[in-house]
């Protein structure tokens, strides 16, 4: 199955019954699949909205009503959704947002790129907030993480971002799909806006004029973010046991890096891979531990250097960090990366 289709089908199987979106390449297969699939499910709602801004606010409405809801887009469209993502965060509403990112800034191009790392992990919207960001590197993982992200969104009442790229969205791989959850068996939500039948009326708002109250709301969000930072970390390691140097990469770049590492390993270079899967929360602690043993980290990204800042924060001067990036939608080959890795490896006199 194609990556975009896997994400859409996994969402349906996780109980997503509401999808609002707007066309943009390279993610159009998600709304196309959702429009077909949701039209055949009772209670399924698909709207092709007039804009990305409208679609994210339709997400807010359906989420207030208690539904499992998703939207998807690519870089320029995600920029427009940032207003809604800030409101989802403030209103503590669950939602799943997929970004099949592309080359940027501006319109850029439709080739795979990782240039939206900052936007995803720092939040491009206003205010003090965090969103969970998961970065799959295969169609199987795209399905599994999408499925999981609905549970995470509900558990913490938080928007969850799936950060992929055009490569992940377009490539086809065999996948094992997760089982379908009957929507009626999902745990009830006690905070929804459904009409005050048999209970006092309630409201969901983000305007808190009293600075002391707003501060308390911010601290409440902070406590939630701290809990997530401890409990929801995801990462993968590959060949790190004897490694003298570790490549840190996420998503598509990690897949390319793994191919490169296999090549240099054949030449006897002791190189491993650390792949953060949750970009926020970033697996800081585990990377810090690794940097106690391995003193050379090679960060490879398909951008001008964004995640490298989180790597630096994590190791806090405990290791030497080298960065290599290819922005603009370039997909380097494993051969290119293996040459760069080995040249750095010998330069540092590791072999």
């Amino acid at each position: 199955m194609r990556g975009n289709h896997v994400i859409a089908e996994a969402a349906i199987r996780a109980g997503c019954r509401f999808y609002f979106g707007y066309p943009i390449t390279p993610q159009n297969e998600i709304p196309e699949y959702m429009s077909e699939r949701l039209s055949k499910i009772e209670g399924g709602v698909f709207i092709q909205a007039e804009s990305e801004i409208a679609s994210i606010h339709m997400v807010i409405g359906a989420s207030m009503a208690g539904g499992r809801v998703m939207t998807s887009s690519s870089g320029p469209g995600i920029s427009l959704k940032q207003e809604g993502i800030s409101f989802l965060s403030a209103l503590e509403l669950p939602a799943v947002i997929v970004n099949m990112s592309r080359g940027g800034p501006g319109l850029g191009n439709i080739a795979p790129s990782q240039s939206d790392y900052f936007q995803a992990t720092r939040g491009g919207g206003h205010g003090d907030y965090r969103t969970i960001v998961l970065a799959p590197n295969s169609c199987q993982e795209a399905g599994d993480l999408t499925y999981k992200s609905f549970d995470l969104a509900d558990k913490y009442r938080i928007p969850v971002l799936i950060l992929g790229d055009g490569m992940l969205g377009q490539m086809m791989e065999p996948v094992e799909l997760p089982p379908e959850i009957p929507v009626k068996r999902l745990p009830p939500k006690e905070w929804t806006i459904t009409g005050a039948k048999g209970r006092p009326s309630r409201f969901i708002r983000s305007l808190i004029l009293d600075p002391f109250e707003e501060e308390e709301h911010n601290w409440k969000l902070m406590r939630k973010y701290e809990k997530i930072s401890k409990e929801e970390l995801l990462w993968e390691t590959f060949s790190i046991e004897d490694a003298k140097m570790i490549v840190v990469a996420f998503g598509t770049a990690a897949r390319i890096a793994k191919g490169a590492i296999k090549r240099v390993r054949e030449e006897g270079l002791k190189v491993g891979l650390f792949r953060p899967i949750s970009l926020w929360p970033f697996p800081t602690k585990i990377l810090k531990e690794i940097s106690r043993k391995v003193k050379h980290l090679f960060v490879f990204e398909m951008n001008m250097g964004q995640m490298v800042e989180d790597v630096k924060l994590a190791v806090d001067g405990g290791a030497e960090i080298h960065f290599y990036g290819r922005p603009g939608g370039i997909i380097p080959t494993p051969l290119e990366i293996s040459r760069i890795i080995s040249s750095y490896y010998y330069q540092k006199k590791l072999g």
Binding site: I53, I60, G67, F87, I193, G195, A196, S201, L207
Partner: protein, 252 residues
Amino acid sequence: MKKVFSRPKSIKKNPFHYCPGCGHSIIHRVIGEVIDELGIQEITIGVPPAGCAVLAYFYFDVDMGEASHGRAAAVATGLKRALPDRIVFTYQGDGDIAAIGTAETIHAASRGENFTTIFVNNGVYGMTGGQMAPTTILGQNTTTSPGGRKERRDGFPIPLSEMLAVAKGSAYIERTAVNSPSNILKTKRAIEKAFRAQMRGLGFSLVEILSPCPTNWKMSPVEACHWIDEVMVKHFPLGVIKDITGEKKDVN
């Protein structure tokens, strides 16, 4: 003793924060009366805007979900599509609906989204201190149209309700005012008609209400009510703009 007048059940016992002579309090009350009379308090969901009525959830005793500036129609779309048997209304000012939220509103009307919009038109951005609104009439003084709104510099005011009447998905659109007892009664009847259109599943309904803003118009409340009659209605004529509720069969 027989009780002849009381607070509507759908209005909470919180004192309004609105300025003296402001139309919002009257409009809140009238909506509350209609909700009570239709017996829909338990199934009604309101969407307040950003603007003077941002705190509407402190006043309406129904479930309320806040929208950001201009996005009420999109939030209401999500709510109503998820809960089609509830009654959903948005409450929006002129800046909210006719400037920043124009796209959301026109498309919701065109899709025939089955909710009701209460559009309060006082021709200024009230909460931010009286700047020019999309409905500020030519010649009207605001803090950002000094010397009066000029067409060459500021463009023309937008007749949003007339524009929405053209949309195939709208079922009922009326413009009223709350500057006199008879106009308030007409407003109440219009809101009731709009809610009934929604209950019948007929599509988008909207009531635009010309509402006094003495504070930002720099007038006394009485002068503001007269100004609506003497000036504002010439640009925004009162009456039913679209009504297909008689022609259409119930969709529910």
